[in-house]
């Protein structure tokens, strides 16, 4: 008997995606439904709060919805599922498989991004119709959306690996509220108090919203150079943190 050769990582990625998808197959319709509802609820719900928004406000609502969908998958769904896998013991066993740690992260990212995708597109269509705004998406919104997804999922992964499952779940619940109401995703940052604006200047969420917004409505929005830098730094740091958390040995 000889030691098995190192399997190709891309092949393992496909197999891991298959494993994770099949394990969730019974819940998939529900996840898809929720991911369809989140952006629609954001658009319709904020629309109710605001009444008849002007064009700028409407654009914020419509372009903010996909950001909320992508972030909620990464920051909320990922910690919950990783926490569950930890609690039931499957995460530790999976970690004994000869799979590069990055592949675990990527496989989950692929599964959750695919689950979030229909909601993102549906939310944009509903928003454009509801508020009668025209979007002009540019090609780079796709890789940028993936980077946003990756950053959020990596942060979620690190939270779930480092904190106890209960704390991670609570943390993710709190994050939903913070992301929905207290971050400048669906409204301009200048409506927030000064200290909150300064805090958000260092957090990844506002840059995430800015890049998606500019990618969907390039005629109306631009991205400050600083935001690209902040987002890139968070993306790199969060992936490194998730990688560290997965490689950690007690």
């Amino acid at each position: 008997m000889t030691a098995l050769a190192a399997p190709a990582s891309w092949r393992q990625l496909g197999l891991m995606v298959q494993w994770q998808t099949r394990r969730q197959v019974r819940n998939l319709p529900l996840f898809l439904l929720i991911q369809l509802l989140i952006p629609v609820a954001t658009i319709v719900g904020f629309g109710l709060l605001i009444g008849h928004p002007d064009r700028a406000t409407a654009l914020y609502l419509v372009t903010g919805a996909p950001v909320i969908a992508l972030i909620s998958v990464g920051l909320v769904a990922t910690p919950q599922f990783v926490g569950q896998a930890r609690a039931e013991g499957s995460l530790d066993w999976m970690r004994t498989l000869p799979v590069p740690r990055e592949v675990f992260l990527l496989a989950d990212l692929v599964v959750w991004t695919v689950i979030a995708l229909p909601g993102v597109v549906f939310g944009l269509v509903v928003g454009a119709l509801r508020f009668d705004v025209e979007l002009a998406p540019v090609w780079w919104v796709v890789p940028v959306a993936l980077a946003v997804s990756l950053t959020a999922a990596a942060v979620g992964y690190a939270i779930a690996c480092v904190m106890s499952p209960v704390v991670a779940q609570l943390m993710s619940q709190v994050l939903v509220f913070v992301v929905l109401l207290f971050t400048p995703i669906s409204f301009p940052a200048d409506r927030m108090p000064q200290w909150a604006q300064e805090t958000h200047a260092w957090l990844p969420i506002e840059p995430m919203a800015q890049v998606i917004r500019a990618g969907l409505a390039p005629g109306d929005f631009t991205v400050p150079g600083r935001s690209w830098v902040v987002l890139a730094a968070w993306c790199a740091a969060s992936v490194l943190a998730a990688r560290w958390a997965l490689r950690r040995r007690g």
Binding site: M1, A6, P7, R11, L15, R22, D92, T96, P98, G250
Partner: protein
């Protein structure tokens, strides 16, 4: 001997100050290619801590772990290719069928699709799992889930296969099939490290037994050599009648006196006299049943870890 696992001076502590637990306090352990090595010990003896260090989930405080010549502590990624593991708790595979789960793990471990499919079919057949191979995992019994977990570790086995309590929840008929497959893994060249409480059954399969207690190795030898020390004694088991214990002959040392059952040590040269006494006691209705057996590995194990329980 071609060693696939070589553990030297392994130390691992948990907690701090007065609550420090020395889970492994200087463990040495070898598993050779083609060998099944049984790892016995109480709950909390340090078995899982040892295993988790071998598979790279825990980092040792001190000591070395060599896996087929690779330093497993320094290179956990390389080590993972050399080990396959059946965990103590069943890995939930909800949403998958046993067959799909086994095949996917085989391919994730680097097996070629066709070879994995053939090997999976072989394991399903050999463990008599055919009836459930296509049933969603949430609908199969604990025993079938356990056998599936074994097959997941055996489908593309590493140079070392670690099995943690593989027979739990498995019915007696399939347990025999399982022992045969464990033996087959070793016969095909893997080293098998078998963590178990089931001393009686393991005795027939293992080449060597390592007894771990409170983080240290108490014994490491073949089953025959381990029982050798007690070859001069036999064990008498007596089922008592409700009226109470019979008048014991003087030569007997009753070691255990539980509910309706007593166990006694019998020196070999007293065996004939004891059988004669037991026959009379049985005829007189003073005892329900008796059996005289050679000292088992279980007796040896208990004598090692609880010397105060044995005269």
């Amino acid at each position: 001997m071609d060693e696939v696992l070589q553990v030297r001076g392994l130390h691992k502590k948990f907690g701090r100050g007065s609550r420090t637990v020395h889970a492994n306090a200087g463990v040495d352990l070898d598993v050779g290619a083609g060998q099944v090595v049984g790892l016995l010990g109480h709950n909390g003896a340090g078995k899982s801590t040892l295993v988790n260090q071998v598979v790279g989930l825990l980092r040792p405080d001190a000591g070395t772990i060599m896996l087929a010549g690779t330093d497993a502590v320094a290179h956990p990624d390389d080590a993972r290719r050399l080990v396959s593991v059946q965990a103590q708790a069943n890995v939930p595979i909800t949403g998958l069928t046993p067959r799909t789960a086994i095949e996917l793990v085989g391919r994730i471990r680097g097996g070629q699709t066709d070879a994995v499919r053939t090997r999976t079919a072989h394991l399903i057949e050999a463990l008599d799992l055919g009836e459930w191979a296509g049933t969603p995992a949430e609908k199969v019994s604990g025993g079938v889930a356990r056998l599936t977990a074994f097959a997941m570790a055996a489908v593309a086995p590493g140079r070392l296969v670690v099995l943690d309590e593989p027979t739990n929840d498995v019915d007696p008929v399939r347990r025999r099939l399982l022992w045969r497959q464990i033996r087959a893994l070793a016969d095909d060249g893997a080293g098998v490290l078998l963590v178990t409480h089931n001393v009686r059954e393991a005795e027939r399969v293992v080449d060597r037994l390592v007894v771990l207690d409170r983080g240290v190795v108490l014994a490491d030898d073949t089953p025959a050599a381990l029982t050798q020390s007690r070859s001069g004694t036999l064990t008498l088991e007596v089922d008592l009648v409700p009226a109470g214990p019979p008048p014991w002959p003087v030569a007997l040392v009753v070691t255990d006196h539980g509910q309706g059952r007593a166990t006694a040590e019998v020196p070999v040269d007293e065996a004939a006299a004891v059988v004669a006494w037991a026959g009379e006691a049985l005829a007189a209705g003073q005892i329900e049943r008796y059996a005289l057996t050679p000292a088992s590995l279980e007796d040896v194990y208990i004598a090692l870890v609880e010397p105060e329980a044995v005269p």
